[in-house]
């Protein structure tokens, strides 16, 4: 699945640099935030701040980079874990 990313600022109170993630039909499926310092082992990673539809729920993974995020989100949208 081809996802489109669009930069956005996110009002988390800490990690503001984010990406809106759209599916092929330009529907918003997720919001990613770029983790700053202070996260052991996860600083610099992209965090699934919010997900919609199949991405909704208690699971909020982090991805090492945006390619990994695209891959992980595509898999979850396709029904994988």
């Amino acid at each position: 699945m081809s996802l489109t990313l669009r930069p956005v600022r996110v009002g988390t109170g800490s990690d503001e640099e984010g990406m809106l993630v759209f599916d092929e039909e330009q529907r918003l499926v997720a919001v990613l935030t770029h983790l700053g310092e202070n996260y052991d082992g996860a600083s610099g990673h992209w965090y699934l701040e919010a997900g919609f539809g199949r991405l909704d729920g208690p699971d909020h993974p982090t991805y090492a980079d945006l390619d990994a995020a695209r891959e992980g989100i595509s898999q979850r949208l396709a029904g994988g874990k």
């Binding site: 988390t12 800490s14 996260y39 052991d40 996860a42 699971d59 909020h60 982090t62």
Partner: protein
């Protein structure tokens, strides 16, 4: 290795925090045969599906009850400190419906079920006291359910820290509002149903609000009233008779 008295002292301290103990009851507890065992961090003490014939007293360290989902996600159900017998229920519920594991290296003392049954037959009031302890256990679960279902993460973490402080203070493990909390943010997150990132942010907020510091393994509460307000914490549900713990 058979029972050494000072290991039972942890249990006596715990029980005395929820009800007075008569001298003969303490003496009976001290006569309980114990099998001592040191267990490294992150190991199961008993696992879901096991049918144990003994229960485990945490002498020192930190243990947790947990359940893994089919996907391998862990929900921590409760934390257990010195003096707790977290699998006391296996005395009556023969098959473990959850697992009990160590979070740090733990000193444990196993008590055979037959010895616990004999103790409660000879001292029925101790049986009532263990019953009271399991009812308090259920009261703690009620608070956790409210937290998981209805409290914001900020309040949920504050409530848990208040709970740990009061429980640890009841067994004399708090000094000047500081206690050892040797868990990771991931473990905290697994207990509170949030992500480790979210737990990290909330802890940063609690620090910024000057409610706590958490350096290494030491958590210090800087503003006890403020933390209780943040967690909407009322210790009534812990049913402590040891009022100095509150």
């Amino acid at each position: 290795m058979e029972g050494i008295h000072h290991h039972t002292a942890a249990l006596i301290r715990k029980l005395e925090s929820i009800a007075p103990l008569a001298p003969e009851e303490k003496a009976a507890l001290l006569r309980l045969p114990l099998r001592l065992k040191s267990v490294p961090a992150h190991q199961d003490i008993v696992s879901e599906g096991d049918r144990p014939c003994e229960s485990c007293l945490v002498v020192n360290g930190l243990a947790c009850r947990y359940i893994l989902t089919e996907e391998g996600k862990r929900q921590i159900l409760s934390f257990h400190i010195s003096g707790d017998i977290p699998d006391l229920q296996s005395l009556h519920l023969t098959t473990m419906d959850h697992s009990l594991g160590t979070l740090v290296p733990c000193q444990l003392a196993f008590i055979r079920h037959e010895d616990l049954h004999a103790l409660m037959r000879s001292h029925p009031r101790l049986g009532e006291l263990f019953w009271r302890d399991t009812l308090i256990d259920a009261a703690v679960f009620r608070q956790w359910i409210v937290g998981l279902g209805r409290r914001e993460a900020h309040s949920r973490i504050a409530h848990l820290l208040c709970e740990l402080l009061v429980r640890l203070r009841a067994v004399e493990l708090v000094e000047d509002h500081a206690f050892t909390l040797p868990i990771t943010q991931g473990e905290l997150a697994d207990a509170l149903g949030i992500s480790a990132v979210h737990a990290n942010r909330v802890l940063q907020d609690l620090r910024a609000e000057n409610l706590i510091t958490w350096r290494g393994d030491t958590l210090k509460v800087l503003d006890w009233q403020g933390l209780q307000r943040a967690g909407e914490f009322d210790p009534t549900y812990l049913h402590l008779v040891k009022k100095e713990a509150l």
